[in-house]
């Protein structure tokens, strides 16, 4: 029998309270946004510009991308007015 692991219903229905996707798009990322907390002024531009809206507040000091979904597009790094976000190759984290 098919399981209901990803979808509770017979068709591709999703509850909008949860992310409207069941795919871990973070797997697609080749570069990861890393925030320099010293430079961050908590302006929130990165969260506003994130095309899939997965940059979330971390306490009241800085913003951080949800790496489960971040595809590494780099828009947050480009828009950051303080150049506080660097795009680091994923390979560097696996070493």
């Amino acid at each position: 029998m098919p399981s209901n692991k990803y979808f509770k219903h017979e068709g591709p229905w999703s509850d909008a309270n949860d992310p409207l996707m069941c795919s871990d798009t973070g797997d697609w990322r080749t570069k990861r946004p890393v925030v320099d907390k010293e430079k961050c002024i908590f302006c929130g531009f990165c969260a506003i510009y994130c095309p899939i809206q997965i940059v979330k507040m971390k306490g009241d000091t800085h913003f951080e991308a949800d790496l489960g979904f971040c595809k590494g597009c780099g828009i947050c790094a480009k828009e950051c007015p303080k150049d506080a976000i660097s795009m680091i190759s994923e390979g560097d984290f696996k070493k």
């Binding site: 209901n4 979808f7 017979e10 068709g11 591709p12 069941c22």
Partner: protein, 411 residues
């Protein structure tokens, strides 16, 4: 086909398109969206008329093209409505992405497709190429033989599509020109009987639907595991629809007095040695010729495919097992295969059929008539095959030039 005498009937002489329109009206859809295309236009004309005179209480969306038509009915269906649309050939191709999306969303849309040759060669003529070109779109495909069956199949399609255990869109196919414009006596069901037949759906759990302000959305991403889960559910529902369709046929008989046999219809098959496998309007002609051949002592039968998707594998094998020679008549081509598409699919069961001899007949393409002579030729060829004579594996019955001897010598 089994027919019972009934206390009261209303026989009307109507076309296949007329039957489809009246069937749609009897099903009381909430939303109809469609765009005219030959040879389907008459259905939409009729429905527009029913709508204008108030006989039909539905939203009629006059869209600018078939792609919008399918998107409109898919959305209405996901909002919980009963929907209807109709198309043919180029229209079906133009809505193809939406046809796939409707299946993926498991929206129980009912659509009539009046078979016509597809784009490529501009042909305003009958043929099942449009059906074949969309066969793996995830819809259930039903095929009607005559105008009465068009009426009956559209009504049965709603019971099948909207059944809580199924939830798959259903396409009802019938031959353009041969049935779309053919006037026949059709026993038109009474509204109260149709309401009773469809009321079973109201007793089932409510299917998931879009609610204004609600938080449920349909058409979500499903990559890897999610994709596989949805496809597996879809395939499982496809399998369930086979038995379900047989049961709906039986229930239909109880109320309306007509039964066709469900997934397949068998005609004089019990003691048949050789069998023709066909679908659609050609089956009427084939039955007539079979009666003549039977009078002449030839044991021949017809297996009519009524449900083409899912492929009725189990009942086909059971009905064809032990037959000496099988000829499949295709009204379309499977590009890249020499034989017709249904022939090619049936070949997959060759070993289960004790290696019965099978051959392919291509006929009726581009409005060529499948005449009684043509059918007689096919049955004679099958008899030759069953006697061990050498016959062609694939015969272009409607294009004998394909088998003219090649010229030899010189340029």
């Amino acid at each position: 086909m089994i027919t019972h005498a009934k206390a009261k009937t209303q026989i009307r002489v109507i076309t296949g398109n007329g039957a489809a329109a009246i069937a749609a009206k009897l099903a009381r859809p909430d939303v109809v969206a469609a765009y005219p295309i030959t040879p389907q236009t008459e259905i939409i004309e009729q429905i527009s008329k029913f709508h204008a005179t108030g006989e039909m209480d539905c939203e009629l969306v006059t869209v600018e093209g078939e792609n919008s038509a399918m998107n409109a009915v898919m959305a209405a269906s996901l909002a919980g409505g009963r929907v209807f649309t109709a198309t043919s050939s180029w229209g079906l191709v133009f809505m193809y992405d939406a046809v796939l999306a409707t299946a993926g969303a498991r929206a129980p849309v009912v659509m009539v497709n009046v078979n016509r040759e597809t784009p490529g060669i501009i042909a305003v003529s009958s043929g099942q190429q449009d059906m074949i070109s969309t066969r793996d779109c995830g819809w259930i495909f039903l095929i009607a033989e005559d105008c009465q069956e068009v009426m009956d199949l559209v009504l049965q399609a709603y019971r099948l599509a909207e059944d809580f255990d199924i939830q798959i869109p259903v396409m009802v196919h019938y031959d353009g020109f041969y049935l779309s414009y053919l006037s026949e006596g059709v026993d038109v069901p009474f509204q109260e009987d149709v309401d009773g037949f469809l009321s079973v759906l109201k007793d089932q759990p409510e299917r998931t639907k879009l609610v204004p302000g609600g938080r449920l959305g349909c058409g979500s991403h499903g990559i890897l595991g999610g994709y596989l889960e949805l496809r597996y559910k879809h395939m499982s529902a496809m399998e369930r629809s086979k038995d379900k369709f047989d049961r709906i046929d039986k229930e239909y008989e109880m109320i309306f007095g007509r039964s066709y046999g469900g997934q397949i219809e068998e005609y004089r098959m019990e003691d048949a040695d050789v069998v023709l496998v066909g679908s659609g309007s050609m089956c009427g002609t084939i039955k007539t010729v079979i009666d003549e051949k039977r009078d002449a002592g030839i044991k021949v039968g017809l297996l009519k495919i009524r449900m083409y998707r899912p492929f009725p594998s189990e009942v086909l094998v059971a009905a064809l097992k032990g037959k000496r020679a099988i000829g499949v008549v295709d009204r379309s081509l499977a590009f890249g295969f020499k034989g017709g598409p249904i022939y090619t699919e049936l070949k997959a069961f060759e070993t289960k059929l004790d290696n019965a001899k099978m051959i392919s007949f291509l006929d009726g393409i581009a409005n060529t008539d499948i005449t009684t002579d043509n059918v007689g030729f096919m049955i004679d060829t099958l008899c030759d095959l069953s006697c061990g004579k050498d016959v062609r594996e694939v015969t272009w019955v409607c294009y004998p030039e394909a088998h003219a001897p090649e010229k030899t010598g010189g340029q």
